[in-house]
Symmetry: C2
Subunit: 420 residues, 2 copies
């Protein structure tokens, strides 16, 4: 991946906005004129303008059709799953939408561990998102497995080199993130998957910080299993349902631990013994959150319309702009990059570390300048979102962060963790 | 429980409607004038008039507050859980709302089985709702337990007498439903809980068909654990999140299998090792479906306002009316009761069996007469809902069912299972 040319002036950023082929999508999301620069779409994506109508349409269906609405709603986990799959390079019939990311991760990790019953080790990343680590800890404790954690360094990611040392023939499952939630480091999914497969292990990817931001080609990557969040770059709203992917060839041979009626053959016959459908539907458990799926569908529509290549092209330029200006303006103020030094390994967000990161993040919000995201102990994450963040916003955000980091009152602010 | 006086005429039913202290709640739910009698609120409750505003308010919060909305939303699983608890006789701090009923059942059943590690048997009911049976089958298979299924008879319920024979000192968990989903039979929760406790077992109750319809006093009942559905009598809409109850005294000693960041102490510190909060929050896993919880909150508000004693008083009269008229009009047409013969053991719905039940249910819907619910092979469930079903509607419903059962074309209808 070639390094992109840096922006050298605000006028140049404004010109990039003028030429931006994605500019028209900005108006498809709700935002307040003159509000802060929103760089937290990787925590909670903005609300698409179409969401209210989609949800209202569902409420109308519920009011009008009552229980008969299920004749249509029953298809939603698979239908919207297939649309998520289009974003992720997954052919139809491999993705369903339901449950939370944590629950989906649990279901797939247990399925994988059970499928490799003779292999006592699960490989994970000590720097991974908490819920991934906790789910694996719980499974290891309950299933008599050992966790072998790679430590890829807080500013890097799950590199093939680090993993090569950890993956041996005692490993049943390699569970990593496609984009690290702190640093934004991108994993080499095909290389890691190949390594894991050579050793006889399965791979499970948490793509919460990847899906909708960076290119993902699930079918081509060799990934066996994946899950991801619906409320970050997929814009599904707070607590949106998660999606899960199981490669078609593996579906019939894997069995998840939560045996529920939504995974059952001929579900409404309510037969005696659990006998799951052969396809990806066997990874459903209970009744899916219909309103959440409808909102998620509205959330991914602009991404499907824009296409991931265009989204990624702009994301890279935005992240490059942030990284370049941060180097220029924030490094002299005591910040350092908390993202990969190699631009080719950066995903959809850029992070800095600074001793006053918490107070600065708080001050930026309180002063209505920038909504960034703090991660303990000292990281500020900056996530521009291609569909609704402009180059000028990204440019201005660094100026504003610099003004706050340079403000002596911010450094004196007593640190008290904010809840997000 | 004294038998209620039967209704002897439609005029008497109309008079009961005129005097009904709950009549005003009817207008708090959306319905179509002249539509069919809706007797399927135990599959999907009607939509409260307030739901659209509540959901729209959440969308406004999302649009306006973005990620800062979490400062409020983070409290919702517990706050709405406490309100559900008020309906169920549970003091605050014992109920949370999140995930599906299937997932919650799984979490609590595994927690209970793990807490009784030396006891190899789980007692369940062969006539229970499929997802309950499947979840227990999966746990038994994965955890090396045996299922001991009582067979309480399709028209009866989980009776203390039947259970006494099954519960011995090899039993770790007794998992039953408070109201049977087919017959509407009510279990004696205090008696069964006492039996189980005498044997050293824990109890887990699926109250999906009980909560919001029949009286439930969780704290007083001796139940250890319970779960229930949000989209039946609690009116939360299709796929509404479920609730779970864990008796306060047991919370710290139970650990659920899905170790997620929403159960973690000091969640946003994102610490290294899973260390769950001491309270009921440890039974959360991933990010809860905020829109679903908000809609559920709107769904239970009319129940909290009306109060469960008034709801139950009317439910009993409605079910009694259906049972009495079914005996009079439907028995001569080949139907028989599929609900307990003892009125005191009937819950919130009344079921009949008839060889043409499927075709009749379909014809009642197609002709816009009654929305009832078919359960294979031959059961038609009739669920009047105290807050929005009138006595006259219940009266008329039996006339309409009789007209359809008497129609020779319905009997000739080729049975093809309907999807609901």
């Amino acid at each position: 991946v070639a390094e992109l040319p840096a922006f050298s002036s605000r006028a140049e950023a404004a010109e990039a906005d003028r030429l931006d082929p994605l500019a028209r999508y900005r108006d498809e999301f709700l935002s307040r004129e003159g509000g802060p620069v929103y760089l937290d779409g990787n925590s909670l994506g903005r609300q698409p303008r179409a969401t209210a109508g989609a949800v209202s349409g569902l409420l109308d269906e519920w009011a009008r059709d009552l229980v008969a609405g299920w004749e249509r709603w029953v298809e939603l986990p698979g239908a919207v799953g297939d649309r998520v799959g289009r974003l992720l390079g997954a052919a139809p019939g491999q993705v369903v939408v339901s449950d939370s990311t944590t629950v989906n991760l649990y279901k797939l990790a247990v399925a994988a561990v059970d499928a490799r019953a003779d292999r006592p080790v699960i490989v994970g990343d000590a720097n991974d998102f908490p819920t991934v680590r906790y789910v694996l800890q719980g499974i290891a404790a309950a299933h008599g497995r050992r966790l072998r954690l790679i430590d890829s360094g807080p500013a890097e990611g799950a590199e093939a080199a680090a993993i090569a040392g950890a993956v041996a023939d005692d490993v049943g499952l390699v569970c990593l993130s496609g984009v690290n939630y702190r640093s934004g480091a991108v994993a080499d999914v095909p290389a890691v998957s190949a390594l894991a497969h050579d050793a006889g292990a399965l791979t499970l990817w948490d793509l919460s910080h990847a899906a909708g931001a960076v290119p993902v080609q699930l079918d081509a990557s060799g990934a066996d299993l994946a899950v991801g969040c619906g409320y970050k770059y997929l814009n599904g709203g707070p607590g949106a349902p998660s999606w899960l992917y199981v490669r078609a060839a593996m579906q019939a041979s894997l069995r998840q631990p939560i045996w529920g009626w939504w995974g059952q053959q001929d579900q409404f016959a309510m037969g005696g013994a659990y006998d799951p459908v052969p396809g990806v539907g066997r990874f459903l458990a209970g009744t899916p959150a219909v309103a959440g799926i409808v909102a998620l569908d509205a959330g991914i529509s602009p991404l499907l319309s824009a296409g991931m290549p265009a989204v990624w092209a702009k994301t890279r330029r935005l992240v490059g702009l942030l990284a370049g200006r941060a180097e220029e303006l924030l490094t002299p103020l005591g910040a350092r990059s908390a993202s990969p030094s190699d631009p080719a390994r950066r995903g959809g967000h850029f992070s800095i570390s600074h001793p006053h990161a918490w107070a600065a993040t708080r001050a930026l919000i309180d002063r209505g300048l920038v909504v960034a995201d703090f991660r303990a102990p000292d990281v500020m994450r900056l996530a521009p979102v291609a569909l609704y963040t402009s180059y000028v916003e990204a440019w201005d955000a660094i100026d504003r962060i610099a003004s706050v980091l340079a403000d002596p009152s911010v450094g004196a602010f007593v640190a008290k963790r904010r809840v997000t």
